[in-house]
Amino acid sequence: MNKKGVFFLPFLTLALIACLLFAYYTLILHNENNPDSEIGDKQYLLYEYYGKAENYLFFIDVSAKYSIEKAIDDLNKNGGFSEDDVWRIGHSPDVKEEFKKSFNKYFNEYMDLSLNEKSAEQRRTLYKQNKNNYDLNFESNILFGKSNKKIVFALSDFNYSINSSFKQKFNYDFTKYDFIKKEIEDLLRCLENKETITDNLIKECKFNRIYNLNNNILTYNVDDIKLKIELGKNKGVASTEWGTSF
């Protein structure tokens, strides 16, 4: 027998053992993809997060609904403004913008509610990602909110992200303010240069509503809307601003 042939079988044995050990290590002991995992783990994780995302979307939907109700209350209470304010020459509310301002304030407060939740994940997703993250658009009596950025659930192997949005019907007639603006504009024009406002002066302006007058501040209601108007000579606002201010 050739001397080289003497070592063939032992080498073959060692090579075989080495190959099997390597295969055992990579396939069984060190298999990152599937060590002890179950079939469809990632798929179920995806499905699980789909369920969680639905929970968040439901929370957002309900939050949006109550934020709308509260924003409408604010508009009614403050005469079209989001906060306590008065109508005067050169100062009237852009009602839809005021509504959005008020809505965002309440919606963010709802997102802050999640701070009380035990889950850090919920805090991360709801609080950080949803706050000031929505473009608001009106279409007749429906408010559409669409998130600017995707809401991301950071998982160990992958990120699950959703485009959050909501659609809420509401019953509020913004066009009422067109009529109110016209009425207030007429009254303010009529009393523009008067130092002290009296009931007689108001009557002369053909203002026929039930009102309350106190220190040149006239308050009255149109349906549920409480209006507050500063009458008389306006502080520093030139009368030529009429027309552009409304």
Binding site: M1, V6, L9, P10, L12, T13, L16, I17, L20, A23, Y24, L27, I28, N34, D36, S37, E38, I39, G40, Y44, Y47, E48, Y50, G51, E54, N55, F58, F59, V62, S63, Y66, E69, K70, E109, Y110, L113, N116, E117
Partner: protein, 156 residues
């Protein structure tokens, strides 16, 4: 070639062949054992449960989103807790789940309601096991948690 050399080579060959056979058998069982063990981990029961748990959550959400009067059931849940009167909610809920083949326990506020529409038909149902949980914000800025335990489907 001397006889000792031939004998030595034969012994080495013999040992090698034995070693190859032992190695192959050993690794066959090693692989087989692990593959079997891995297969063992793929527990059909646990897959079934996790699927049911997620479905349960979706079912709870669908229940809360069900339109009722001018709102949704979630509004009725909030109203019921506020007024501490669950009669209307109970009635509506029984109606919603009347065709279901499972039993449910709804935990709303401090109370709970069992809904088991086909219990009276003498059918048996599995143990309550999977749970869904949904948070509802209220106008007063509180959070109400509604939980639902569900059993598997009825069986004869």
């Amino acid at each position: 070639m001397n006889k000792k050399g031939v004998l030595g080579e034969s012994i080495v060959d013999f040992i090698s062949i034995i070693l190859i056979i032992i190695t192959l058998i050993l690794f066959f069982f090693l692989f087989r054992y692990n593959i079997t063990l891995e297969s063992f981990f793929v527990d059909k029961g646990s897959i079934y449960e996790s699927e049911e748990e997620i479905s349960n959550n979706i079912m709870l959400l669908n229940y809360l989103r069900t339109p009722y009067n001018e709102g949704i059931i979630a509004d009725l849940v909030i109203k019921s807790i506020k007024d501490s009167d669950f009669k209307e909610l109970d009635l509506v809920t029984q109606g919603i789940f009347k065709d279901s083949n499972s039993c449910f326990i709804l935990f709303i506020g401090a109370g709970n309601t069992e809904i088991c529409p086909k219990k009276e038909l003498g059918m048996k149902f599995r143990e309550f096991r999977s749970e869904g949980s949904v948070l509802i914000p209220t106008k007063e800025k509180n959070i109400i948690e509604v939980k639902m335990l569900s059993s598997g489907e009825f069986y004869e």
